[in-house]
């Protein structure tokens, strides 16, 4: 399982403050903890508060890389913020460009820009693409799959290996009125997305979004993650510091025969899986 750790995000107060005050220690501490907890990649999101997002992205990347070599996932919908991060990153062990929709009204070519940047970033650079286009986030199964199909065919057209492509079917908060049908739709869409190419694109979800505003957040996240892994999900953006959640990942991977069982399977999961 490709685990993308979510915690270095300007939406969290301590990260926001650290960015504002250029307090390296907070960021480096988080990087260390998330790496130890089994992060395959570490998401880096400057949030919306920073006035100079490109500058903040560079500062975060440099700050993390001073003490930690876990590959990063540069998280922004703005190509210039991603580009700024890529300028200072060491992408030798890989990098994820996170994320782009297929297209959007204000920028029909946005996916092309991400493909271009990923190609320049080296052979181990990947992209997370959202099943979303200029009409917004689809609510049904078929439109999600149709957009995913367009994403895959466009990537293949441009010679971009589908093993470097992550498709995010966009999980919405379950607490939003009428949204309770969405988790089921996501699973059904994933069933089809994995047959879009050979080798299949990765699938990923921003798990924490599911339980936004709900009670029993960790439980909701854990249960859905297990359900999604059983449907072929092979990556997720999660809170790696949630030990119970990581235990679910280890157990689900073992039950799906992705990891060989041993009596210490929980304990070794991060070691065996980590980078």
């Amino acid at each position: 399982m490709i685990i993308i750790a979510e915690r270095i995000n300007g939406m969290f107060t301590n990260v926001k403050q650290a960015i504002a005050e250029k307090d390296k220690k907070v960021i480096q501490e988080l990087a260390k903890k998330q790496t130890e907890a089994g992060a395959t990649y570490m998401d880096v999101n400057v949030g919306t508060a920073a006035a100079d997002q490109a500058g903040a992205m560079q500062w975060l990347v440099e700050t993390i890389q001073e003490t930690c070599s876990t590959p990063l996932s540069l998280d922004s919908q703005k190509p210039d913020v991603i580009a700024a991060g890529l300028k200072v990153i060491n992408a030798e062990n890989g990098v994820i460009l996170n994320s782009t929709p297929l297209n959007k009204k204000s920028d029909e070519e946005i996916f092309d820009k991400y493909l271009e940047m990923a190609n320049q970033a080296g052979p181990k650079a990947s992209i997370i693409t959202l099943t979303m286009d200029k009409n917004g986030v689809p609510q049904d199964i078929d439109t999600r799959v149709a957009i995913a199909a367009e994403i895959v065919s466009k990537a293949m057209e441009k010679g971009f290996n589908t093993q470097r492509l992550f498709i995010d079917p966009i999980i919405l908060p379950v607490k939003v009125p009428n949204a309770q049908v969405q988790p089921g739709n996501i699973l059904a869409a994933m069933d089809q997305i994995r047959y879009l190419s050979e080798p299949a694109p990765h699938t990923t979800i921003g798990l924490s979004n599911l339980s936004q505003g709900a009670s029993e957040r960790s439980l909701i996240n854990r249960v859905f993650l297990a359900m999604a892994i059983s449907r072929g999900l092979d990556s997720a953006i999660v809170d790696v510091l949630d030990k119970d959640l990581m235990n679910v990942v280890a157990t689900a991977e073992m039950l799906m025969n992705k990891q060989i069982y041993s009596d210490s399977f929980l304990k070794v999961y991060s070691t065996a899986n980590g980078t």
Binding site: Q259, I260, S262, D263, K267, V268, A272, N273
Partner: protein, 322 residues
Amino acid sequence: MPIPEIAESFTGSVNRVTLGATNENGGSRSSTITVGGARNVVYGGSPDEAGEKPVIAMDVLDSRPGDWPDALAEPYKSVLDSPGDWAKKCVEEYGAELICIKFEGIHPDKGDKDASHAIKVTEQVLKAVSVPLILWSCGYDEKDNQVMPKVSGAAKGENCLIGTVTEDNYKSLTAIALADNHFLITEAPLDINIAKQVNILASDMGFPLERIITFQSTGALGYGIEYAYSIQERQRLAALTGDKMMAMPAICDVGYESWRAKEAKLADAPGWGEVVDRGPMWEAATAVCLLQAGVDIIRMRHPRAVATVKHFISQVWREGNP
């Protein structure tokens, strides 16, 4: 019509392990042996993914074997009482790349020899040959825990491969192998889950995963080879998909297991062909089969079987080209 590229590629690899210590590294071996490094299955992927070619370790017993069939004992009849001469013969005449001393004679039912005997044998073999050594216990835990630490000490500095440790008996030999800077063999009874667990247990004691070789137990042709084959294959695939607890090179005990088969040793079986041929054939067939599952070191016994398997390896791993 172009041939489509269907080779699978993997992100992980089998650890590369170098056994033996030369003068520069504080030992007395004339050369070292490197195994592992495969980044694909056998015959899979591009030639540069094949890793190091597999090697043959020939068995030398610490005391005269009591139950070897004539066909097997015959080539060694002049050296069966002298482990040093025996080892020398294996290296010089039969091209053994490693010598595996099997301390059969320390077993309470097979001679019950003591630590001083085992130390003497180790020293004799170290002196007689300059290839790296494998030091293999008798399998009786209590006796192994008394004797093998002494054997380890007698070969200190030579970077030997020493074993075996099991899920139920791993602490003392793991600790001493770590202290004496040897490589360790972890053993499991044809059970992939236990195999992984033993590696974890050794690793928990601080033993580096990069210094472990796994022994999954071996079944000979007709006697469970399919279990051994599928476990070796599964271990290789786990290594290739990035499971660091299963990324070790593997060793098989083909010699002992093959010569237990009645087809290999039964003299009075007119319909089966000459007994002098059957044993070596059984041993070679078993080895060749397991090599294809992804095994890095093969323990063998009969010189003719060794010659056949060496030829096979030289053809399949030609210039690293499977």
